[in-house]
Structures are given as C-alpha cells and as structure tokens.
Symmetry: C2
Subunit: 332 residues, 2 copies
C-alpha cells in the first residue's frame, strides 16, 4: 500500500475511534444518570437542510443529537449533546473570530471562510434539584481544520468543573482527586496546568469570582500524537461520572430549606452570567452555526434568580462559598 | 462679563438643569410606583474611595444612587438608578471601546484613557409580578467628554421599551402612541427613526427575535442645541410613567395560571440573554467602572427560566407573541 494512502486510512481510523469514544461517553453517562434518577432522557436529532439545521434524522456526514432530562426526581434539568459534524465554516466566520482558537497556527486560518472542518465531542451540564448537590459541567471535543483525510491543524479540548451552591470540601477534593489521577497517568504536568487553566477560564471577571470550585480545563491540546491524546481524553471521559455521580448519590436526599433553594437559584444566576458573557463554547456555537441556539442553551439552568444585594451574611455557609470563589484553593 | 465666562456659566446652568430633570424623573416616577404598589423602595448610595465605589454618602462631584423594590404587591422586582458623575475613564477604557460611542467624533477619543467625562441619567427596569403586565425599561442620559465647562463632545441618549409575556395590542398601541406624541411635538422625524432604532437595538440576534414590542431608542443625539434636546428628553421622561403605569393599573389584577407564570419566566430568560450578550449600557457599565456590577445587574429579573424546547403550541397566545417578536409591527 502506498504510504500516503496508508496515512489517510490510519487518520480515518483515528477519527472513527475518536467519534466512538465521545459517543460511548454520551450513551454510557446518560445511562448512569437515568439509573440514578429513574427518569429517561428525551432525545432530539438534527438534520441539515440547505445549510440550516432542522429537526430530523441525522445524515452520515453530520450526526447531531441533543438529550434533555427535566424535572426528574434527582435532576431538575440536564442538557447533553453529541456531535460528529463534517462541515464548512459559514462566510464571515472563522475559528479565530468565533473564539475557538487563539494560537498562532490559528492566525493562518483567519479570513478563510468556507474552511472545511470536522468536529466531534460531547457535553453535559447537570443542574440537580437539591441545592446541596453541585452543578456539574463536562465537555470533551476534537476539532480539525482542513480536508478530512489531511487536516492542516487539529486539537483536543475539554474539561470538567463543579459549581456548588453549598461547599462540602470532601466533594471538591473527590472531584479534583479523580481527575488528578487520570492526568497523572498520562503526564504529571497535566493536572497542575489544567487545574490552573480551569480556574482562569471559569472566571466571571465582572464579578471578580470563579463560577465554582473548578476541576480541569484544556484547549488546543496537540503536544503529543493524536493517538496518545485520544487515550488521555478517553480516560477523562470515563473519570467524569466517577468524579461526579458519587457526590450526587451522597447529597441528593440531604435536607434543605427554601432559603437554600433560593441561594441555589442565585448561584445559577452567576452561572448564566458566565455562559452568556464568557463561555467560549457557547459563543462559538452561536457564531459558527455549527449547532442551533436551542442546543447551545441546553446548558441553561431551569430557574435562576437575581436580587439587588446577594452578599451573604458573614460567617454563613453561603459566605464560606463566596470566599473560595474569590480565592481559588488547591484541593489535592 | 467676558464672552468665554458667560459661555462657561451658561453651560454650567445647562448641566445643573439636565441633572435636575433626571433627578426629578427618578424621584417622581419612584413615587408614582410606590403609590401603585404600596411598598417603598430601599435606597443604596455609593461613594468614591480611592477610585473604587463603596457604600456611603455621595460626594458633590459624584452622586450615585440605586433604588430597589422587591416582592411588592404589584411589582416583583424593580431596579432604579440615578447618577451625576464627574470622572475620568480608567486606563485602557475609552467610550469607544466600552461601546458607548460609535460615531466618527468618538474615534478621535480612542485610546485617550483618563479622559474626563460628566455623565448624568436615570434608568428604570420594572419586572411586575402578574404575567399579564409587561416588563418596562426606560433610561435617559446625558454624556459629555472633556472638561466640565468646555466639553469636546456631548450627546443625549435613551429610550423606553415594553416587553410583554402576553400581548395586548391596546397596551402596545398606548405605549407607542404616548411616545409618538412627545416625539412629534419636537420633530416629526423622531418617532419613525427612534421606533426603528428601538426595534434594531433591542434585538436578540442569536434568537432572531426582538426582546419585546419596542418603543423608542436613540443615542449620540446632538443634532439640535443642547437646550432644545434637553426639552425633548425632559418630555420623554414625563411620558414614560404616562405610557406605562396605566397599563399596569389595568392588568395587575388579571387572572393567570401557573403556566402563564412559567411563560413569563421564559420571557425573562430571553431578557437576561439580551442584557448579557447585547446591551451596550450594561457592557459600558461593567467595562467603564462608572458604576458597580451590583448596580448594572439591578436590572435583572427576580426569577428567570430556561427549558430545552420553549416553542409555544401553534395558535396559542404565546405563539401570537412570538410572531410579533420575529416580525416587529407598526403600532401607531
């Protein structure tokens, strides 16, 4: 077999495997959540119709599925998404402008509208009912720019982070420890780098606060071979349910008051502020047309609140949380 | 008296009068709202402390007051603000960058951090409890750049708009008619221009929808003498309570269901999306440091909701509203 053909086939095998890793996480984690909640996800598939997305069966070159679980017994609202899309950026939109890339390599792609890309990934945003259970977010993705079989540039991105309304240190430690373990198995520099990156990324600058207690975050990761990084990312996708679901199980039946529930809604309000002002994923989703606004906003909380003065009384559990949000802590 | 001194005194008189017009609206409209609701506003004053705002008594060069009414009998949450601030833009921030100016004159001010400015204005964002009563927003303001007595550039901006959860055509007509009357008394080109400007400005582009049924909006208005424009803006400040409060009075005791209340929360969710992604005033407030984030977010609704699929059933009252949001209508 000629070398070029062999390379092409090898890359196609890698792409299929990457897609399968994300699809496995999507299905497997949804299954674990359904088992814990008792309620099933509803599913919405999208199809391309003259460049627009309409509800309908996926085609082979664009698999795009939303899942939603609302008003469950444990979870108030969950938004999940899986995509494996071959496409072209719409005119006037580049990865750079849409905020998905900030590296020098990306600069070269600037102003090349119509650039072909392949993107696959899965995301979870989980809003539990009980205010003692933290919100969790997780998203892993692979992007490549250029021809499917000969990309000019490729990278992995993703992470997982935790947003408690009430801080239980053992939960934050467990979430970080689980992710640190996976990072350490691949590269001992990963956890410290990705923990810090997470603290920097999930920062609500206009409030001077983190959105939660963090976790890991990375983007434009391509410093090892694609196959090696896929192994790492696959391990991350498996770590997320292990890091989060035991916390849910242990807190879901905790007692709480109306005051606790209202505080949860205020915390969700800050979550909304982050998504709408700072989240690069949401901005890219809206700007690129790669997914619909309905899918982008699948991550929104079911009910969020704002009040004129939401500073908690000093010495309260709510104030203890604020302190950590204003000064991120080392958890492991 | 030398001519230059006379000019200086005349401008100072104009500034004081402008400030008084906004302060009058602030106090008078708050009073009318308190009368309708039965509950009183609480007040928060801010003082400068080494360039930061802290709660405390205003100084003479920076009057900055928030008012808030929450969980009233008619209104669920109202955020009101009055400012009359002499200041300097913080380093790295210009009016242009902060999005407050987009004209060619403004370009000249680009990159002149530390530019002195004077700003005075008042704003109201009113979230009623009953979903049959529309949300109302109103803001009028005067800005000038340069020395207080010899500004390089000045302008008025402002407007008022209505965001119903349920559309009553007579309410939209009354709101527009009241504002049209005031516009027509000053310049018959104003209402058509400012109505269209409002439709364009209060547009949630990622949703392809207006946030409501509009009203009037204008910015960088300086095409007449400052004194003439102040007369127009003063008339606008008086029109707002006449345009809105009769609607409140007529709908506040209307019957509604839990479904109506949940739809109101979804509409408020879109309102939040607009404020956080598109509102130039909010962005300028956060970027300029002219006011605190707490004041900027005084406009937020008390409780907003998101659900995966919020498209209303065809033929419903909710669907009738959506149709108008997707295709702005002429109301008078």
């Amino acid at each position: 077999m000629p070398q070029a053909l062999e390379q092409t086939q090898k890359h196609e095998t890698f792409l299929k495997k990457t897609e399968a890793v994300f699809k496995h996480m999507f299905d497997h984690t949804c299954g674990s959540i359904e088992q814990l909640d008792g309620q099933l996800f509803s599913e919405q598939r999208w199809a391309r119709d003259n460049g627009n997305w309409v509800t309908g069966e996926n085609s082979s070159d664009a698999i795009y599925i939303d899942r939603s679980l609302q008003n469950g017994s444990v979870f108030e609202k969950i938004g999940v998404n899986f995509v494996a899309i071959n496409g072209e950026l719409p005119p006037g939109v580049t990865f750079q402008k849409a905020g998905a890339l900030t590296t020098k390599e990306a600069d070269k792609e600037e102003n090349k509208a119509g650039t072909p890309f392949f993107a696959t990934g899965t995301s979870f945003v989980i809003h539990p009912y009980n205010p003692m259970v933290p919100i969790a977010h997780c998203n892993y993705r692979y992007f490549q720019i250029g021809k499917r079989d000969q990309p000019q540039y490729w990278w992995f991105g993703g992470g997982a982070d935790l947003t408690p309304a009430y801080l239980f240190e053992e939960d934050a430690k467990h979430f970080h420890q689980t992710h640190k373990q996976v990072c350490d198995q691949h590269d001992t520099t990963y956890y410290p780098r990705f923990k810090q990156w997470c603290d920097q990324y999930f920062h609500i600058s206009h409030r001077g606060e983190s959105r939660g207690v963090g976790g890991i975050f990375f983007d434009q990761l391509n410093d090892l071979s694609a196959e090696e990084l896929l192994e790492f990312v696959e391990a991350c996708t498996k770590a997320f349910p292990q890091a989060y679901l035991p916390i849910v199980a242990r807190r879901k039946d905790a007692d709480f008051t109306d005051t606790n529930k209202q505080w949860q809604r205020l915390v969700r309000g800050r979550y909304v502020e982050f998504i709408l002002t700072s989240d690069r994923g949401a901005r890219f989703g809206l700007a690129s047309g790669m997914v619909t606004p309905q899918s982008v906003f699948n991550c929104m909380p079911p009910a969020a609140a704002w009040t004129y003065d939401d500073q908690p009384a000093s010495g309260s559990a709510e104030a203890a949380l604020k302190q950590v949000l204003q000064q991120p802590r080392a958890w492991v």
